[in-house]
Amino acid sequence: MRELVARFLSQSISRRTFLKGMTTAGISLTAAKDILESLVPAAHAQAKEGAAFKVVEGSGAMCFAEQLIASGVRYVFGNSASEDAQFYEALVDRPQLKYILTPHEGPGAAMAAGYVKASGEPTIVMQAAVVGLVNAMGQMFNAYKEQTPLVFYSYRTDQSGRAGRDGFEEVANQEQIVQPMTKYAWLARRADMIPETVRRAFKAAWTPPHGPTYCSWHSDFNDQHVRAEVVMQEKVDPRMRVRPNPAEVERAAKLLVEAKLPLMIVGDEVYTAKAMAKAVKLAELLGMPVTQMRQIYANFPETHPLWVGTPPAARLVSLDYPKNPDVILNVGNKLQHNSPNPMIARGAKFIDMRIDSLSMGNVIEVDVPLVADVAMGLDDLTAAVSQLVTPALKQRAAARADEAHKFHDKARELRDLVMKNPDWERAPMLADRVTREVAEFADRDAIIVHEAGSVALHGFDFNPDGGRELFFYYGAHLGSGVGTAAGVKLARPKRQVICLVGDGSFVFGPTALWNMARLELPVITVVYNNHAYSGPHSRVIEKVPGGRMVQTGHFFHDYLGSPDMDMASIAKGFGVQGEVAHSPAELRDALARARRASVEGKPYLIDAQVARVGVAWADKPWIPPAQT
């Protein structure tokens, strides 16, 4: 009996095994249950203290749950799967693992990714076999492109004794499906190998550069009774916080000090390394203007006088200022290229500081590579530059800072001209008007989740160091916005979270609204609803100018308004209050109601009616006949 108690307290055996052992030893079931209930608080307390290693015994799924706890997981996101029965059983006595049921694997994975991004904590997404996995793979792709450390699991439905018979929900080599978009994909060969497979998945995902991983095993392994070793994450984490090569740091410092007009590009590694203040410090030391190519986060305070904005055309040459920088320092930007032209024109000296060495030098030639955790890299580079500072350099830096400051102020004034649009008061609204109304409304430290791909944000003055934060995307598997916002709110419950999403993106992934309602996550969702795919509309015309589509107005691919979709009604269907706003005045009133709902812990959705603008939009767009 004492052994049974000890094993239960060390979480080596399950609740069921404990009761079975007690009754076998002659204790009545009622008495055994009473003893069990008295032990639960002590068992939880011991689990909190956490040992580095422990041996657990029970179902394979129970070992899985134990390894998740040891890997630091708090939330598990999943969709229902009968083959995971033993895992759900294990959850009953492990309140430290909180299971979040998501009605669709795609938005569920987006929610998990949002949680990871906003909390910096590990989590896992579970799907039912290959059928659930393929639903989640869109968000797996996003996690791969955006380097999000998200772990995925799904079992193989074929059982070990029956594999290869083309059974129900069976596909051969399931784990290989995800290989091109994961850092690690592995099939555990035995039930007792589940924990080590899981902890490798967490180790690989969370070792920089981050990325998604996948683990799998035959479903009957979940049911097998095994004895396995569980290891805490800290015992497998390589703690890859790398300092840059000192010789390269010296070269970079020399280039920057001698530069006439240096420019800093920031990227997401600055945000994930929490190095915003360090980037500011180096920029100020050199009087160096700062910009950012497209990333997920805003990585530099946009109100800082050295901030010169983002290039409008995804190439540095389209920046109004500075023109022709002679030394460019990239800090943590992946520089994803969507056109054959390099973002950074050849000619300037290029210093590339990133932990992601794999993509370094892919398109743009590098004069000084600084493979590093950017927080450490910025520290070292700032120290090296400080050693070289002379009175003359200080004077040059001050002059550059003054020039950048003047541009910053002028650009800010010019950006506000967007409100001088002669159609500013129109209804349906300009997308810019919706954006400005939300920017006026948002809390000073609001988090903006942005999946309105054709909408450019302005007026928010993002500041990742204590002000408003941005969670954008560039993975571009649509339908991530609502789920991401739910995950961000779960991770940061005290911050206002506003989800901006296009109507096209929204209908790819609204099911996370249900999670907002169920978990009382008061996210405010604003749908820019122009009843169309406006991005593809414009790009098609650019590719086929003056073609038959333009001549006839027969666009097959872009209009969603017939029959129309009522986003507020969709929200109500998921238990979220919503309303339609047609005009700026209605939008302001709706935002006020959304704020009141937030105070009560309720999510809210605003279906903002937005005008279709641009080339060749008819008032009543043509749609293909229903029947020919």
Partner: protein, 95 residues
């Protein structure tokens, strides 16, 4: 080999050093006040394909230009006025 206007412009714009100059292949853009401003400001991001199909009055062009501010263009009110005048004149609504 005869290249269409769009391709010529795209090729020119693909050369970063040339991208800041006025494109030489601005065929289809008749001389009129405001043309120089338009070619300098808009071709940084666009090929002309987007707008050679567009016909709208001056006010609508003005609205279009202000929307570009929202997408990152930094233009003064006077530059917007000149471009709107030009576009309203050359690419105005068809009679």
């Amino acid at each position: 080999m005869k290249l269409p206007l769009a391709m010529i412009t795209a090729l020119l714009l693909s050369q970063p050093a040339l991208a800041q100059r006025k494109p030489a292949a601005a065929v289809g853009f008749p001389d009129a006040p405001g043309k120089d401003v338009l070619l300098t400001k808009c071709f940084q991001c666009h090929s002309p394909n987007m707008w050679t199909d567009q016909r709208q009055d001056r006010r609508s062009w003005e609205s279009t230009l202000y929307r570009m501010i929202g997408r990152g263009a930094l233009w003064t009110p006077d530059e917007i006025r000149q471009m709107a005048d030009y576009l309203g004149n050359v690419y105005g609504r068809k009679q």
